[in-house]
């Protein structure tokens, strides 16, 4: 009885071993292979998207610069943007993009960092559970709503503060200020992540030496988190440069080479939105010009994103 059972077991084992080697290990699994191929394809779609962006923008921009009336140098240094009469200088669009972004960062950076310090160093867990969702809501408000806010609240406010003669109905200041409010949650949440990542032991060491909370936050924690905060700053600029709806609604239409924030001036994104809003016919200088500006926009934001990653990677303080 015992014997037969042992023999059966042994036989089963040998059969099983044979099956394993024959059926399992060498078995090709077509379904699994197909699935894996499909999943790989899904991963590649994102790469294809990037290639698509570079290819399409590049192709049309090439056509744009292939036009004998347009040179790259004139494009980058000209101060007049009037496609109708053949003036293609991108500086007016670029300058207003820079001014609105700069105003936005002046609003978003100090408030964002102060908020981040408050949330990570001062706030009780209960306060945080109330404040963080509020910031998330602020971050989730669609940009067209911010555009509406700029036009119906910020512009009238600025005009009543500085006078209707100083401030145009459409102006860069209003768009920039509201853009700052839009970017604020991004800056504060990224900075807060950086501050929270600083190990507790550093704070405790500072307290043990008798430092106040302020001294600990500003002289110990902040420098340790600086790389993350700079990265947040750069991402914020990148977001501001690419923001469309606020400037399309509130900053005015029509390129204007000016550094007065109370004047109307169209940004790069605003121009693209206005031109493509109408029924645009293909292969006209107008059509090609939005690709040239789009390419410039893509390169600027891509460069800023890379820079941000490089900063947070290189200057990060590593604690065990």
């Amino acid at each position: 009885m015992e014997n037969t059972s042992r023999i059966t077991t042994r036989r089963m084992q040998s059969v099983w071993k044979k099956n394993v080697s024959d059926n399992l290990q060498k078995k090709t699994r077509p379904t699994e292979a197909i699935i894996q191929a499909f999943l790989f394809f899904c991963g590649v779609v994102s790469v294809l998207t990037t290639i698509g962006i570079v290819f399409e923008l590049g192709k049309e921009a090439w056509l744009f610069f292939g036009n004998p009336d347009i040179s790259v140098i004139e494009f980058l240094t000209g101060t007049e943007w009037q496609p109708k009469i053949g003036n293609f200088g991108v500086l007016p669009l670029l300058s207003s993009t820079l001014i609105t972004s700069l105003i936005a960062m002046v609003v978003a950076l100090p408030i964002g960092i102060a908020t981040a310090i408050f949330l990570s160093e001062y706030a009780t867990p209960k306060t945080r559970t109330i404040l963080k969702p509020i910031l998330e809501i602020l971050a989730g408000v669609p940009t067209v709503v911010y555009g509406y806010f700029a036009l119906t609240f910020m512009t009238p406010l600025l005009r009543s503060l500085f006078g209707n003669n100083t401030v145009d109905v459409y102006n860069m200041a209003s768009a920039g200020l509201v853009m700052g409010i839009m970017i604020l949650p991004l800056i504060s949440s990224m900075s807060e992540d950086a501050l929270s990542a600083v190990p507790r032991s550093l704070r405790e060491a500072a307290y043990a030496l008798g430092a106040t909370k302020l001294e600990t936050a500003v002289q110990i924690v902040f420098p340790a988190a600086l790389s993350g905060i700079i990265a947040a700053f750069i991402i914020g600029i990148s977001r501001a440069v690419g923001e469309t709806m606020i400037v399309a609604v509130a900053a005015g239409s029509g390129p204007n080479f000016t550094f007065n924030p109370f004047e109307a001036a169209e940004t790069m994104t605003g121009y693209i939105a206005r031109i493509s809003g109408g029924d645009l016919s293909y292969n006209t200088p107008d059509y090609n010009s939005i690709f040239a500006i789009g390419l410039l926009l893509f390169l600027v934001t891509l460069g800023l994103n890379f820079l941000s990653r490089a900063v947070s990677g290189r200057f990060r303080e590593v604690y065990e």
Partner: protein
């Protein structure tokens, strides 16, 4: 004792030290107040934004009727019977119009509300000649009524919620008081369905590949990962330009429906917009899905391999069900991004004036944010009121989506 105290701080005397400490503490208190104020600012900004929108979305309006209801009937028209309403319509409208209306059946047999609406829209024709925000409506009520009586004799003043049933059920119209968001709502809905249908499988697939199959050191996988991170930072309008060149122009036979025998459309369809939007939300979806998959404990996978499951069986039966709440949360976040995006839709070519609901993926379309943009940029003040109403619709949709995401997240957090 006091002697050793002075020695403890070297050259500083006891009082000087106390003073210094006091100074440092008051500085710390001041800074704390500043940090708190800055944080409060964020709350104030959000409140101001909401108040601005609410303020614009209701208030007194001065309405001038083309025909005074009193000349039509002694009683208020809502209290009239069907027969009386039909009689009014017959006497006041052109014969051709009555015939068109009666094509479906006698006027008397139509629902009471329809008849009231017809009388309102076709005979009385109320027009908003003046509109006020909520604040002045509450504070200066008497001045508004007095001013209206002087400037618009025969007009009456009423309190109007711009966001009302009519606003939700009407299509776009050139008069702000008759315009509604129905076709825009359907357009947004269609858009979201296409976006999710395309982006969800690809996004989850990519996340599974990167987390479960790809070895983290191989060059191509690092490339894919970096690429996804970068795509998340590309401005939305650049996606719009890509959509214009790729889906609207190059793939026009497909996106206009010509391949499927649909004629007379160009590539500026819901399908083009949905595909563009899918590319836009893909990085968000992938990153969120990756996080969800990564949070599934390894022990589950090992147990599954231990009982002889293949890789795909492990993923399908064990990893995905456990990661699903996280993936769905990420999808909802992606949807709430897509629902509010305006810039790519403008570039891809959403129409701003459409009075019919979309019927297929190959319809030209409008969407909620497009309508908001369009109405915001109109110079007439009444359009700003309906823009505010449309913003409220959009915000309610977004808030419910986010609430759903938070609920899912909490349920998920309890499980693990």
């Amino acid at each position: 004792m006091s002697q050793s105290d002075t020695h403890l701080f070297g050259e500083y005397s006891n009082d000087a030290v106390k003073h210094l400490v006091h100074q440092r503490h008051s500085r710390a208190k001041l800074a704390r107040a500043i940090f708190r104020t800055a944080t409060l600012l964020a709350v104030i900004f959000l409140a101001t934004l909401l108040v601005t929108v609410l303020n614009k979305s209701m208030g007194y309006v001065v309405i001038q009727n083309k025909v005074d209801p009193a000349t039509i009937s002694d009683q208020p028209i809502t209290q009239l019977t069907n027969a009386e309403l039909a009689e009014i319509l017959r006497t006041n409208l052109r014969k051709n119009r009555v015939r068109t209306l009666e094509r479906a059946g006698f006027l008397e047999d139509q629902p009471h509300s329809t008849l009231v609406q017809l009388v309102q829209a076709e005979i009385i024709q109320p027009e908003v000649v003046e509109s006020y925000n909520l604040m002045p409506s509450l504070l200066h009520r008497n001045q508004i009524t007095a001013g209206a009586a002087v400037e618009h004799p025969g007009a009456h003043v009423e309190f109007r919620y711009w966001l009302n049933g009519q606003f939700l059920s009407n299509t776009m119209a050139s008069q702000p008081e008759l315009a509604g968001v129905r076709s825009a709502l359907f357009g947004s809905l269609y858009l979201i369905v296409i976006t999710v249908a395309v982006a969800f499988p690809i996004g989850v697939g990519a996340a599974i590949y990167l987390e479960e199959y790809a070895s983290h050191n191989s060059r191509i996988n690092r490339l894919i990962q970096t690429n996804i991170d970068n795509l998340a930072g590309v401005p939305s309008i650049v996606y719009g330009i890509l959509g214009l060149a790729l889906f609207v122009r190059t793939l026009q036979p497909l996106t206009s429906g010509a391949v499927f025998g649909i004629e007379g459309q160009n590539g500026r369809t819901i399908l083009s917009a949905g595909l563009t939007m899918a590319l836009l939300v893909l990085p968000i979806l992938i990153i969120n899905a990756q996080e969800a998959i990564r949070s599934v404990p390894d022990s589950l996978r090992q147990a599954s391999y231990g009982v002889g499951a293949t890789r795909w069986q492990t993923i399908w039966y064990h990893v995905l069900p456990n990661a699903l709440p996280g993936i769905l949360t990420g999808t909802i976040l992606a949807v709430s991004r897509a629902i509010g995006e305006t810039a790519p839709l403008i570039v891809v070519g959403a129409s701003t004036f459409i009075t019919s609901d979309p019927t297929s993926p190959f319809s030209s379309f409008t969407a909620l944010p497009i309508q908001i943009y369009n109405w915001t940029t109109r110079p007439q003040p009444a359009f700003q009121h309906i823009a505010a109403a449309a913003i409220l619709v959009l915000l309610v949709a977004l808030l419910s989506l986010n609430a759903a995401a938070i609920l899912l997240r909490n349920r998920f957090a309890k499980q693990v």
